[in-house]
Every structure is written in C-alpha cells, then in structure tokens.
C-alpha cells in the first residue's frame, strides 16, 4: 500500500451502493440506470462485492449508514438482492430506495430480515394524470399499498419522495399531494422541484412548458414548506422534512461534509480529499471486477479551499447553524453583512445559518457568501 493510500485509509463511515436496474426509464430521470438485464443481476452483485473488497481500506470498521440507491434497487433479482444485503456491513441506518410497484409483502419481509432499517419510497405524486406525465408505472393505490406492506413488515422509518412543479400541476394538485402523503404519516418526506435536466427525454418534451409555468409555480416551494412544516415536520434540509430524530443520517453525512464510499457504476466516493466517480458502463464495470481490477474512474482532488467551499454550500442547506470556524476562510464578510441586513442570513452564536426566506434563495445567497 502506498503512503497516500495509507493516509486515506479507513475514514469513510458511510457506504453508498448503486443498483442501476430499472424496468423502464422515466423521462425526467438522469441517474445512471440500466433497463432489465435480469440475467446480469447476480454478476453485478458479485462485482459490487469484489469492489467492496478492493476498497475495504477506505471504509471504517464501524459503518454508520448504508444506502442502496438506484435505479430501482428493489427490482434487483431477490436472490441476488438477498445475497448482497447479507454481505454488506451492518449499520444502524440501512436505507433502500423502492419503487411502489415493486413492494410486495415478500419483498418487505426480505428487506426487514436482511437488516434494512429504512425505506425511501418514490411516490412522486398521487395524481394519476401527473404520474402519467412523469411516465411512472405506479398508480396512487400502489403507493399506499406499498406503504402499508412496509408498515406491516414493521418498518418504522419510511420516507416518501414527492415531486412538485410537474407540467400541468395546479396549486390544489400540490396541496392534495401533500395531504395524501401526510395522511400516510411517514417519518420522512423529501420534496423536490422537478428539474428539466439537460438531455433528458422529458426536457425535450416538456422543457418549454416548465419554463413558461415557472412564474406561476414560483410559490410552490414556499407552499410545500408551509404545509409540511405546519404538520409538525422539521424542515431540516432544503428539500427534506422529518419527524424528530428521523433525519436521513446517510444524507446528513453528505451535507456535513463527511467521507463516504460509493460502490457500483456511476457511484461517487469522497475519501480524504479525493473524489472519484466510477464510469457508468455496466460492461466495463463487470469485466474489470471479474478480472480483479478496479473499474475505470474519474478522479477529482479537493484542495482545502474547495473542501471548505463545499462545506459552506452543503452546510447552509441545513437548518442547524454551520460552525463559522469551518468556513471563515472562504466566506465574504461584506456579503454576510449585506445578507444579514436583508434578513437572509444570520449568525447564531459561533454558527452561520440562513433565515427562512434565505433558505428559499439558498443558491443565490450561497453564491454571494462565497468569497
């Protein structure tokens, strides 16, 4: 082992595993996904476990969180999935993303038995016509059914994903979506504005509509916060809400600038100032790991300034103040004074946080705060 590798060893306490398989690619999605390929699930799990062995030195002996994201992790062949779950390190928070239509009582039981503690369910919306716009396969009833199956399997930490700003979504559609979500009483809610990501089929089809409705939907974000926080959830991150103590600890690790190891195609790791992203090619990934080699990666070195900048960018997404000492070298004091004057940012003790209105303008405020 080289000196550098030794220095970076054993720092990540958070593990991300990417399971790219999907039955169908939704138009708006720009994640790394692979359609079908049921015959390759087992090989992919083998490759993941080989990669885990190769990267073992970067992972702390005690892993705090594991997150299985996708793709549609719950679409993975159950035998392969069970094997994967059984081989990954145990963790106090072990999350898997699930699409509602894949959640059966059997799957829920399998997850529960395999050490999964938390499920993030991609509901997106409860309006059938909007689900169709998004090209989602599940209907509103699938979401509810999946939720109850998970509850029946005694999952006590379930998150729902909701999307707003869907083409054609009225203000009352949004309100009903939130009502419907809250009715299920999840421990956690993630609410994302639909983004027209460049190059997606969705942007091609709906990009102009998204632009033209932008002004009309300008207050949707405020409305979401109002309704969800009003129901007693904590708005602990820009797009995330939780019941007390039910933050997504894995995601919190990203926002707090901790190290994490990512496995699988397209997965990103950040360990000791070094960030790498595995190339999103399934064939190359399988071939490399079958040969005992690391798959090809893009590497980015994060210097001290960049790390502090990220700390600021990410930390200000949270409701808890960011320790000023961590970011002072990259912070513009004049900008902070100006933003305090505008009621967008505030000092709290030795920490820095955005005000409620500042959080809605987080991007612009952060850009301004960076020296």
């Amino acid at each position: 082992m080289t000196a550098t590798a030794a220095a970076t060893a054993a720092t990540a306490r958070h593990l991300y595993v990417h399971l790219p398989f999907c039955a169908h690619r939704c138009g708006y999605c720009d994640f790394v996904t692979v359609l079908g390929r049921g015959d390759q699930h087992a090989a992919y799990v083998d490759a993941l476990l080989s990669e885990l062995e190769l990267e073992r030195a970067s992972l702390a002996p005690e892993v705090e969180t594991v997150f299985l994201g996708g793709g549609t992790p719950t679409l993975t062949d159950p035998v392969a999935l069970r094997r994967l779950l059984g081989s990954l390190p145990r963790a106090a928070e072990f999350t898997i993303e699930a699409n509602p239509e894949t959640v059966t009582p059997e799957l829920a039981a399998l997850l529960r038995e395999s050490g999964v503690t938390r499920v993030s369910l991609g509901a997106q919306t409860f309006r059938p016509e909007l689900l169709e716009v998004l090209e989602r396969r599940a209907g509103p009833e699938d979401v509810r059914r999946a939720f109850y199956h998970l509850r029946d399997a005694s999952f006590d930490n379930i998150s729902l994903d909701l999307l707003y700003g869907i083409p054609g979504q009225s203000a009352s559609d949004l309100e009903r979506d939130i009502e419907d979500a809250l009715e299920l009483d999840p421990e956690h809610l993630s609410c994302y504005e639909l983004e027209a990501k460049p190059g997606t089929r969705f942007t091609h089809a709906h990009g102009e509509e998204l632009v033209s409705q932008a002004e009309a939907m300008e207050n949707y974000f405020e409305r979401v916060v109002e309704l969800v926080a009003g129901a007693g959830y904590r708005w602990y991150e820009t797009a995330n809400f939780c019941r007390p103590g039910r933050e997504a600890r894995h995601n919190l690790a990203y926002w707090e600038g901790r190290d994490y190891l990512g496995l699988g195609i397209g997965a990103v790791s950040t360990v000791a100032g070094r960030r790498w992203r595995t190339k999103p090619s399934l064939a190359q990934y399988l071939a490399a790991l079958a040969g005992g080699r690391r798959p090809e990666r893009e590497v980015e070195l994060l210097d001290a300034v960049t790390q502090r900048q990220e700390r600021l960018i990410l930390g200000l997404r949270l409701d808890e103040p960011l320790p000023l000492a961590d970011v002072e070298p990259v912070l513009s004091v004049e900008a902070l004074a100006r933003l305090e004057g505008l009621g967008l940012a505030e000092r709290r003790g030795d920490g820095l946080a955005l005000t409620r209105r500042g959080r809605f303008l987080g991007g612009a405020v952060t850009a301004e705060l960076l020296a």
């Binding site: 405020e222 797009a239 397209g266 960049t306 959080r359 809605f360 987080g362 991007g363 612009a364």
Partner: protein
C-alpha cells in the same frame, strides 16, 4: 516650376456610393499616373516601400498630368460631420466635380457638398455617373443637377467611371472650365492646411495648398492661428507615390512633413507662413471646430480602462477633432467623456476603438452641449447630464438646419417625425416631380436620440439626411434621473424637453424593469425630475433560487453551478444594493436599443 496657368486644383464631391473613388482611380489610370495593371500591385508595393522609408499615411491629394497641365485632385472626407474639413479642402481648389448617380439622382449629401462648393466660389463640373447601369436615368439626374447649380443640362457630363466611358472628357472639362489658381508668387509664402495626418515615423504631415510665395525644405514656418512653429523636414507631392521636391510654389498642392508629435498643434484651416518673413494676414476662414455631440465611453470590462486610454491617445494623433476627458461613473466605473463632431463621427470613433483596438465598449446615450445659466447667475456649458444642474435659470440647446430629401409620398412621415422632435418648418421644394427637399430647424438633442433609425423606418430607407449646426436657442429642458432602489444611476440621467419627459422616463423605467434580473429583494425603479417621481416600476423579489436535490453524487456539479452563479454576479455592475448586468445598461444606453416605444 509650373506656371500658375498650367495648374488646375479640383476635388470630387459626391454622395456616398455615387462613385467618387472609382472615378479617382480611373483618372489615375487615364492620365497614366498608374497603368491598369499596375494599379493594385504598384499601390501596394509603394505602401511597402513607403513603410521602409518611414511614412505610412494615405495621400490626401494626388498630382496627375493631363495634356501638359498639372492637375491636383484633392480628397475630401465623406461624412456630414466633417463639413468644416470638407469646406477647407474645397477652399484649396478652384473647381469641383459634382458626381451624381444616374440611378439615384441628387441626395442630401450631394446638396450639402454642392452648396459648400458654391460658397467657396468653385467652378462646378457636373457629372452623371453609372450611365451603364440598367436602371440608370441620366436625363433625370442631369436635369436635377443642372437645376440645382443653375447649369445648362447639355453641359452635364455623362460617364461610367466603371467602364471608363467619358472620363477623358471629364479631364478636358477640368482644364477648360476650372480656372487656374491665382496667387502672388513673390509675396511672403502662405499655404492653407486642408488636412493633416499623423505618421508614426515622421510625425504630423500637413496637406497644404500653397497660395502665395514659395516654401522650401529646412525652413522655419509658423501656423498663424495657433502660433505653432516648426522646421519643414520635407516638402513634396503624391503622384501617387511620395515625391519630395525642393519647392512648393504658389498654386501648388502638396505635403509638408513637420516633425510635430501632436496633430492638435496643426489644425485644419490654419495658414502656414514663413517664420522669418511672415505674411501679414492669414488666409480667411479658420475656425476652431468644437464638438457638438457627447457621450461617455466605458470599457465593458473595467480592467480595460488603461487600454481604452491608450487607444484614445492613439486615435487622437490622427483625429484632432476628437475630444475626451476622464469620467467616473458610480454605475459604470472609469471611462471617458468624449466629444464628437456629430453622430457619425461618434460611430466612427466607437467602431475604430472596437475594431482596431479590440475593445468592448459601453457607450452612454449621446447628448449635446447645453449652455446653462444657473440660479446663481453663472453661465456654464454642460456636456454630461450627470453634471446638469437640477435648478436652472435658463438653458440653451444647439439647433441644426436639417435637410431631408425624400420621395414625395414620405413627406408627411418626415414632417410628422420632425414635429414630434420639436422641429420648426423652414422650407420645402420639389427637386423633381418625384422628390422633395424638406428643410427644418431641429434641436440637435432630438436628432442624437434615435432619429436616424426613425427616419429610416418611416421612409423605408428612402430619405437622405444632412445638417448644419445653426446656433443655440432656449429650450424648456429638464434633467430626468433614474433611481434603482433609491440610488441614483448617474450614467442613465438624460436631458429632455419637459413635454417629452414622461414618455422618455416611462420608456427607460419599463426597459430597466424588463432587463434587470429579479434580485433577492423588491427593487423600485424610478424616474424623477428633481425630487418629483414621474415614473415608477417595481422589480419583484425572487422567491426561490435553490438547487432542489443535492446528494453524494451531485456535489461537484452543484458546486460548479454555484461557482458559475458567482461568476455571473461578478459580471454585474453593483448600483447601490442592486446588481445590474452589463446587458441591461447596454439595452438602455445603446443607440439602437434606445428606441421610443
């Protein structure tokens, strides 16, 4: 030495594109000053040669021989803004070829030049050019031109400079009709400076028409109006290559290399005489030309201020009429307040700065010089709206006599435009059955704002326009200020007539509201006369600006997005608390963008 009898000095006056340069080229060819084949090659060769010998400027007067006569062709600047320079060049001649396009007939510039030639008592040789064009109507053009100068249409020459047809007859007519120069060969020397240029190796080169006596090299001479003295380093003429001579005698046209390092020390219109034995009187007609149109020039990138300063210094070497002084705008940073002879001069300078010096400029809305009597009884001339006193006793603004020639169906449109612009009708005449000349007195301040574009669009491009500054008149003018979130934007202040103030204020405010991106707070955009708000809009605050998702895989991309946002901010100009993109200023200030809606 040529006797005066065998010299003819003339220039060619024409509307742009009516064939002045083609005719000049053809004259060089017909007189065998250059053969057809040599034309291009030799001119270029001589350029290289000249460069080696250390002189790079273009000939402003060319000497050709024709049937034993010395003909001097004197070039005139082609732009309306340089009327004075044109008049000096014409003063150096005894005759002028008035060239009119056979298809287009007389244009406003033709008229202006013809009047200038007549004022200078020149013999006008009328020429209808481009008779080879299929759409040519030589008879109509000849009739128009004959009518204009009171000449027999039969004496109007008909030529095609392109094919060479009729060009020899033009040369014959110059010899026959243009009188030889008069002058006193034995009197103390006097020469009229009709143009000057700056050569990087030899300094200022003056183009002169010698009137009396004889000039020689290595002689001390003096410019009589300005008092500048220098030793003549070299005398000569262009033919078309530089030909140094030992004398420049009465009646002749040539150049003088002065060794001076600053063109502004030798003004067009001044008289050169011997420093040792000077003439008692200068030649008539010298006047100091004053800028009439002013604008602030700012580098788009404020780091380019030194480059802009250097570029202006260099342009000034060749353009004595360019005026500039440093200006600091709180909104636009460091730049220069520049004075120009007119709008075209301004456009030329701006284009040269951008093209030759590769600068990216922001030019404020042009304004004119105002003569202000303050409440305190002080008289001041104001070149910058930001310095215009808010309380005034009396203001005078410059007026022009504007001449517009249009097909008769557009007379109404031009009248309407001129009336909107506070014009006073002067007179109207039919140049032919189809074409009408309209003369109006207009405040120059109304013409510098979007007038050309309006004239062009309302007459579908058929109008030709020219003007002369005729003096100052009192006007009810007010200063309109623009405020963003309560802070004055100095660069956007304008001086307008009280009646037009509301419309202009509203247009400015609307434009700013549309161009300035929403900020993190509400931004009132106001226009005010003194403390009275006359127009107001609000740029509503943004309500969200946040990247929805941000997880482990997104961090680098999100960081880059924020960095890009940050860079975008840096390109903005900070006006008080408001960030204004360069484009917003451009949209409001740019001549083309400043249209009345």
């Amino acid at each position: 030495m040529s006797s005066l009898e065998r010299i003819r000095n003339f220039s060619i006056v024409a509307h742009i594109d009516h064939g002045k340069s083609t005719l000049a080229d053809r004259i060089l060819e017909v007189t065998r000053t250059l053969s057809k084949r040599e034309m291009r090659a030799q001119v270029l060769d001589s350029m290289d040669l000249e460069r080696e010998r250390g002189i790079t400027i273009k000939a402003q007067a060319v000497r050709v021989g024709w049937k034993g006569y010395q003909l001097n062709l004197i070039d005139t600047p082609g732009h309306v803004d340089f009327t004075y320079e044109v008049s000096r060049a014409l003063q150096a001649c005894e005759g002028a070829l008035l060239v009119v396009d056979a298809a287009q007939g007389i244009q406003a510039q033709t008229l202006a030049n013809a009047y200038l030639a007549l004022e200078n008592d020149l013999e006008i040789v009328p020429v209808v050019n481009k008779i080879d064009l299929p759409q040519a109507d030589p008879d109509s053009a000849a009739a128009e031109i004959a009518e204009l100068i009171g000449e027999d249409p039969a004496r109007v020459l008909r030529i095609s400079a392109k094919t060479g047809e009729g060009v020899e007859a033009v040369l014959d007519a110059i010899v026959e009709r243009v009188p030889p120069p008069s002058g006193e060969p034995d009197a103390p020397p006097r020469a009229l400076i009709f143009d000057s240029a700056y050569d990087q190796y030899r300094g200022v080169v003056a183009f002169v028409r010698s009137v009396d006596g004889v000039f020689r090299p290595r002689e001390r001479v003096r410019a009589m109006a300005q008092g500048t003295t220098f030793e003549t380093e070299e005398l000569g003429f262009f033919s078309p290559e530089r030909s140094p001579t030992q004398t420049l005698a009465a009646g002749e046209v040539g150049y003088v290399i002065t060794g001076l390092k600053d063109v502004s020390r030798l003004r067009v219109g001044d008289t050169l005489t011997s420093a040792g034995g000077p003439a008692s009187e200068p030649l008539p007609g010298y006047k100091e030309v004053k800028p009439t149109v002013f604008a602030g020039l700012f580098p788009t990138d404020s780091d380019e201020y030194p480059e802009l300063r250097d570029a202006l210094d260099k342009l000034k070497l060749n353009d004595a009429s360019l005026f500039y002084e440093p200006e600091t705008s709180q909104a636009l940073g460091f730049g220069f307040r520049c004075g120009f002879l007119g709008l075209l001069h301004m456009e030329i300078v701006r284009e040269r700065l951008e093209r030759e010096f590769d600068l990216d400029l922001l030019v404020t809305a042009p304004n004119v010089a105002y003569r202000v009597l303050t409440k305190a009884g002080e008289e001041v001339e104001v070149h910058n709206p930001a310095e215009f006193p808010r309380e005034v006793e009396r203001v005078e603004e410059p007026y022009i006599r504007a001449t517009t020639i249009v097909p008769k169906e557009y007379v109404g449109a031009v009248m309407e435009l001129n009336t909107e612009r506070r014009g006073r009708f002067h007179h109207m005449e039919y140049l032919s059955e189809q074409r009408v000349l309209l003369a109006y007195d207009l405040p120059l301040g109304e013409v510098v704002y979007d007038y050309y574009d309006q004239l062009k669009s309302r007459t579908k491009g058929y109008a030709s326009f020219d003007y002369d500054v005729i003096g100052f008149h009192e006007g009810e003018l007010v200063r309109v200020d623009i405020m963003l979130a309560g802070d004055l934007v100095d660069a956007l202040s304008v001086i307008v007539h009280r009646e037009g103030a509301y419309a202009r204020a509203k247009a400015l405010v609307d434009r700013l509201r549309a161009e300035i991106p929403r900020q993190m707070f509400d931004v009132p955009v106001q226009a005010a006369i003194g403390s009275r708000i006359i127009a107001r809009e609000t740029i509503k605050a943004r309500r969200k600006d946040v990247l929805a998702k941000c997880y482990g895989g997104d961090i680098t991309r999100k960081r880059k997005l924020i960095e890009r946002q940050k860079k975008g901010k840096k390109r903005m100009k900070q006006v008080g608390t408001v960030e204004v993109p360069q484009e917003a200023f451009l949209a409001v200030l740019d001549l083309n963008g400043g249209g009345r809606s």
